[in-house]
Every structure is written in structure tokens, then in C-alpha cells.
């Protein structure tokens, strides 16, 4: 994973709450077996509407998304994160997120910055008034700044550290493989195994 310390770019306000992962990318787009090319499915149901905020020319180069509360609820699909990244987003700023979405983002290197809903509202007005003014989201300082705007944001310390260092979770865990081996020696005998395969006889 690439290190993430700070990102500067323009932002786009998505004034909707409860944008679940089916909205971010509908199931029909999930059939690929790679992590790329999902940008076409991003917000698919709304993309043909010329009024949809991503279709407005002034937001075309935005790399920061600012949605309403409960963004990314629903399905576990990491494709939602890949679709946002494939489209060009690096940061999502909001007040509440689905747990799995937030965790997926941390693994894939998309920064999810949590702020109060009041800050979201302020950001929305700010962006709408100054669509071409860049925001800087600084992970080291945990703050969002622009000419005429500034606010702090929350992120859990562990995810922040991993993003800053660009660390891969599996590599981190494999440093503790001795602990895993030890745990396995203590596991109860009666715990089920999937192999060898056992199949009930048909009644």
C-alpha cells in the first residue's frame, strides 16, 4: 500500500444521506475479477442524470467526496471503495459511515475522515460557494484546511498509523505467526473442520 500523509484537491458535495453500497456500485457491476475498471459503475443509477452533482462540470476534477450521514452502509463489497478510487477519489469526509465500508477503505488506502455533521454542512456550503478552491486533508495533523476554511477530523489511531506508514495488514500479522501457532495448539478438539468433506445421506 502507498503511504498516505496528506492530500490536496477539490471536493464535491453529495447531499444525500444513507447512500448504501448498492448505490455506490450496484451488484451488476461486481462481476469483474480484478480491482480496476469499477469507475463506470460508481453511483450508476444517478450518473445519467445531468443534474447529478458528479456530472456538473465544476466538480469534474474533484478528488474529495463529502457525502451525508450513513455513507457506505449495507453490503460488504470492497468494490465500493475500489469504484471510488478508480474514479479518482482519495478522501471521503462525512459524519457517519457503515462499519465495513470504513474498514475496507482503511485497507485499500482510501482516507475516511470523520467530522461532525455540522462540519459537513459547513463544508457543503463552502464547496458550493468555492468549487475550485482546493482543500488539503492532512493525516499527520488530522485537519482539513482551505483558504477560508479549517476543521479537524477523527480517525482511529491504528488505521491512521497504517495509512501513514503504508503498511500491509497481512505482513503485519505474519510477524506474529508464532502467536497464531501457539493459539492453534490450544484450540478445542471438537471445533469443526470443513475437510475431510462429510455429507449427510439423502433422506
Amino acid at each position: 500500500m502507498e503511504k498516505f500523509s496528506s492530500h490536496t484537491g477539490t471536493a464535491v458535495p453529495l447531499r444525500r444521506s444513507n447512500v448504501d453500497t448498492d448505490q455506490i456500485i450496484p451488484a451488476v457491476y461486481l462481476k469483474a475479477v480484478t480491482k480496476t475498471g469499477f469507475e463506470d459503475g460508481l453511483f450508476a443509477a444517478w450518473r445519467s442524470d445531468p443534474d447529478f452533482v458528479l456530472n456538473q462540470p465544476r466538480y469534474h476534477s474533484a478528488t474529495i467526496l463529502v457525502p451525508g450521514p450513513d455513507f457506505g452502509t449495507g453490503s460488504s463489497r470492497e468494490h465500493a471503495v475500489w469504484a471510488l478510487q478508480n474514479y479518482g477519489f482519495r478522501v471521503v469526509i462525512g459524519s457517519r459511515f457503515g462499519d465495513i465500508f470504513r474498514s475496507n477503505s482503511g485497507k485499500a488506502g482510501l482516507l475516511v475522515a470523520v467530522v461532525d455533521q455540522k462540519v459537513v454542512e459547513e463544508l457543503w456550503s463552502f464547496i458550493e460557494d468555492h468549487p475550485d478552491r482546493s482543500l488539503t486533508v492532512d493525516l499527520t495533523e488530522q485537519c482539513i484546511t482551505a483558504e477560508g476554511f479549517s476543521a479537524g477530523f477523527e480517525i482511529d489511531a491504528y488505521t491512521r498509523w497504517r495509512l501513514l506508514e503504508g503498511l500491509d495488514d497481512i505482513g503485519l500479522t505474519l510477524r506474529h505467526v508464532a502467536d497464531i501457532d501457539a493459539y492453534e495448539t490450544r484450540r478445542a478438539e471438537f471445533k469443526p473442520k470443513t475437510q475431510p468433506v462429510k455429507v449427510a445421506s439423502l433422506s
Partner: protein, 465 residues
């Protein structure tokens, strides 16, 4: 110190814990399906890593698979590639797989319990948010993303921050015609879709204790629909009786050891939850949704709400948007809403008990004219059992379609989809915009309401027949 059930299970699975880091949890069972796994196997391949415990891993094909002509090659080439990719990955990494046509193929959350692989006191994960279903056995079970799938494949563990605890106390005797599905829909309407965020929820109380395993799974299944990390229930005699004798259940002395341990899996007296919610089950009626998230529901006897009635601005906006998408007018009695399609199936309500309940209502009746009803068993084995009991005949004689097992119209990744503007009564778990097909409209209902609705053509309960 007294502990809650989820704390006991959590603590029993901590491989390593260090200040400032999430706990490293051991995973007892990892279920895999075709949609969220290809990129994970790719990651392993690129890093040259094997699957640590193929014997704790199992794969099935469910999301993409057709429910008609299952012996022919999958018609959609992209779906076929995804299924083939899973088969190749399973072969390459030595993972057990139940493919289309196999007697144990089916929706991942149906076949785990059915094979006896889901047992009390376990940690269960799958790249699927409805993994919470397995919590019905007294396990910590939750959905994970593809990066985490890769992590579990490689290490059989997962770093996880300890969630907060919540109790949902459901007490009272369920009125006739009211089911587990109605309990959970009513609960979500009460607490909202974000109500459970960051919590593992224990459902408890006399109503839960009286439920069958099927009913318990229906409730745990929908935990994620109100944002909970996981939902679980204390195992009891009902649980043990369900597990015993299944192919992977412990046997002999192992069974005795297992049950002795399982009996300790209860919340201790005096243990405290971070949050508690109470629900009186004796006053519930069949519950249905009118909007585009599972929290937008009302009793079947109520009317479509007026967005202006909601105190919060955000709720007013989202209700107004939902009514527009659903093409509904405030004040319309729910019972007058006509549907084009009834879908009976999914990991929420695709088990044998659900099919029996619906068949009982439909038996000797015809479904309404111009309405299609899809009956999709949750697994191949549920399908065979239903056929053994003659339920397929009951459905077919009423005019319903009897299909092969899979996720089907729950998410419309296969050809089973709603057309734009079509309206469905569905026993699945999500009424999101476009979930069952682009432009499709979904009302979430119980199997009893689904069956009665199929007969009358408008949202109905069996008591309306």
C-alpha cells in the same frame, strides 16, 4: 468480572492483544463465495502465500448462479468467468467447494448451519454482510471486505477493534401470524438503520427463546440492516438439537465436551451492556416496508407515512425521496399497494420452515392474475427436502415458479431481476433503490405476508384471505 456472551466468545479467540492495536482474533470458519473472493486469491498468488487453513475454509457458488437450467453453462459470460475463477481458485488452493448442481450448494449462510459447520462459540466470517446470520447459534459472525478475506485466507486471523455491546430484549408471546421477520423489521423501524453501528448485539428475552433456529437466523441475518457489527443469541436446547447429528457436528465424547462448553455461553448475571433496547413482541403485527431502506417500515395495517410528519429534517428528505422512487402517495393504506412480483427466498427467509409457512397459506389457492411469484430455496438441500414434502407441487399448482437454489432476486446478479418500475413483495433483506433490478421497487415482508400477497395481488396477511 461478569461478562456478556459476546465478550466471552471474543476473549476466547484473542491470539494477541497489545495496547493501541486492535486484537488479533482467530477465525474458526471462513466461508467464501464467488463475488468477493477473486481479488483476494489474486493477492495471495502475487505474494506467493498459501491458504493457512484450507480445513477451516469452505466455498460455494450462490450470488451469480442461475436458478433455471442449472446444468447448462452459465449464459452470462461475465458471471461464468467469476464462477469459473472461484472453481479454479478452490482447486489451486485446496479449498472445499460446493458448485452449482452439487447437493450441498446453496446460499453461503444457509449451507454453513445446514452442514453443522456453524456451531456455538465460534468466530465465523465471510465476504458478505449477512454473515451475521450465523450468530443465531451463539457465535460471533460478521461480514468482511475482500482485503480481509485475503487476510483470513493467509493467516486465519483478523485484526479487530473490540466493538461495544448492546442488548435487544424481546419479550412477550408473538401473536398468531407474526414472525421473526416482523420482529426484526419492527426493531429496525424503531432504532433506525444506523442504530447498531459499532456494536455486537445480543438478542435475548422470552420471545427469542421461544423461536426456532430458522426464526433466530432470520433476526440475526438482518443485524447488519441496522448497522450492527454482529448479532447473536445464547445457545440453548433448541440450538443443540438443531446441530446434533448434522454432518460436521461433534460426535461421541467430543459432543459431550462441546455441549458442556456451549452451556457456559450465556451472559453472566450482573454483566453490563453499553446500550439496551426493549421490544414488546406481544403487541406486534405483520410489518412491511414502504421506503428504500429497511428502517422505513410500518405495520401492514398502517398507511404510507407523510414525510412532513417526521421530526428530523434528514428523515423528511429521505422519506420524500423514497416515496418518489417507490411511486407511492402518502396516506395510501399499505394493504392497497399492488405488486407485480413476489419473491420468496434469500438467506433471510429461504429455509425449509419459511417455504412450509408460505406453502400452508398458498395451498389450494391461485396466485393473482398477472403476478409472478418466484420461489427460490436457499440451498439445493432445502429444495430437495421441500420436494420430498410436496411443497414444490403446492407452489406450482398455485401458479408460482419453482426454482433452483441461490441468491437470485435478492440482489439480481443473475437473470432474476425486477424490470424498471416493477414492484415486488420480497422476503429478502434489502429494499435499497435498484437492489432487485434497476428501477425496481421492493417491499420487505415475511414469508406469510409474501404468500398472502401473492394470492390477493396487494400487500396482505393470511388473515385477509
Amino acid at each position: 468480572m461478569p461478562k456478556t456472551l459476546s465478550e466471552k466468545i471474543w476473549d476466547a479467540h484473542v491470539v494477541r492483544s497489545a495496547a493501541g492495536e486492535p486484537d488479533l482474533l482467530y477465525i474458526d470458519l471462513h466461508l467464501v463465495h464467488e463475488v468477493t473472493s477473486p481479488q483476494a486469491f489474486d493477492g495471495l498468488r502475487q505474494a506467493g502465500r498459501p491458504v493457512r487453513r484450507p480445513d477451516l475454509t469452505m466455498a460455494t457458488e450462490d450470488h451469480n448462479t442461475p436458478t433455471l437450467n442449472i446444468n447448462a453453462p452459465i449464459a452470462d459470460p461475465v458471471s461464468r468467468t467469476q464462477v469459473d475463477t472461484l472453481r479454479n481458485n478452490a482447486r489451486e488452493f485446496g479449498i472445499r467447494i460446493h458448485s452449482l448442481g452439487d447437493v450441498d450448494q446453496g446460499i453461503v449462510h444457509i449451507i454453513g448451519p445446514q452442514l453443522g459447520l456453524t456451531q456455538p462459540g465460534m468466530t465465523v466470517v465471510c465476504g458478505d454482510s449477512h454473515t451475521s446470520t450465523h450468530g443465531a447459534f451463539g457465535s460471533i459472525a460478521f461480514g468482511i471486505g475482500t482485503s480481509e478475506v485475503e487476510h483470513v485466507l493467509a493467516t486465519q486471523t483478523l485484526p479487530q477493534a473490540r466493538p461495544k455491546t448492546m442488548a435487544v430484549n424481546v419479550d412477550g408471546e408473538l401473536p398468531v401470524g407474526v414472525t421473526a421477520k416482523d420482529i426484526v423489521l419492527a426493531l429496525i423501524a424503531k432504532v433506525g438503520t444506523g442504530g447498531g453501528q459499532g456494536h455486537i448485539v445480543e438478542y435475548r428475552g422470552s420471545t427469542i427463546e421461544a423461536l426456532s433456529m430458522e426464526g433466530r437466523m432470520t433476526i440475526c441475518n438482518m443485524s447488519i440492516e441496522w448497522g450492527a457489527k454482529a448479532g447473536l443469541m445464547a445457545p440453548d436446547e433448541t440450538t443443540f438439537a438443531y446441530v446434533q447429528g448434522r454432518p460436521h457436528a461433534p460426535e461421541g465424547a467430543d459432543w459431550d465436551d462441546a455441549v458442556a462448553y456451549w452451556r457456559t455461553l450465556i451472559t453472566d448475571d450482573g454483566a453490563e451492556f453499553d446500550v439496551e433496547v426493549d421490544l414488546d413482541a406481544s403487541r406486534l403485527t405483520p410489518f412491511v416496508t414502504w421506503g428504500t431502506n429497511p428502517g422505513q417500515g410500518v405495520p401492514l395495517g398502517a398507511r404510507v407515512p407523510d414525510p412532513e410528519e417526521f421530526p428530523e429534517e434528514a428523515d423528511r428528505t429521505s422519506a420524500a425521496k423514497a416515496l418518489q422512487y417507490m411511486d407511492l402517495t402518502a396516506g395510501t393504506p399499505m394493504r392497497e399497494i399492488a405488486v407485480d412480483t413476489v419473491f420468496l427466498g434469500s438467506c433471510t427467509n429461504g429455509r425449509i420452515e419459511d417455504l412450509r409457512a408460505a406453502a400452508e397459506v398458498i395451498k389450494g389457492r391461485n396466485i393473482a392474475e398477472n403476478l409472478r411469484m418466484l420461489v427460490v430455496p436457499g440451498s439445493a438441500r432445502v429444495r430437495l427436502q421441500a420436494e420430498d414434502e410436496g411443497l414444490d407441487v403446492v407452489f406450482k399448482e398455485s401458479g408460482a415458479e419453482w426454482r433452483a437454489a441461490g441468491c437470485s432476486m435478492c440482489l439480481g446478479m443473475n437473470p432474476d431481476q425486477l424490470a424498471p418500475g416493477e414492484r415486488a413483495a420480497s422476503t429478502s433483506n434489502r429494499n435499497f433503490e435498484g437492489r432487485q433490478g434497476k428501477g425496481g421497487r421492493t417491499h420487505l415482508v415475511s414469508p406469510l405476508v409474501a404468500a398472502a400477497t401473492a394470492v390477493r395481488g396487494t400487500l396482505s396477511a393470511p388473515s385477509d384471505l
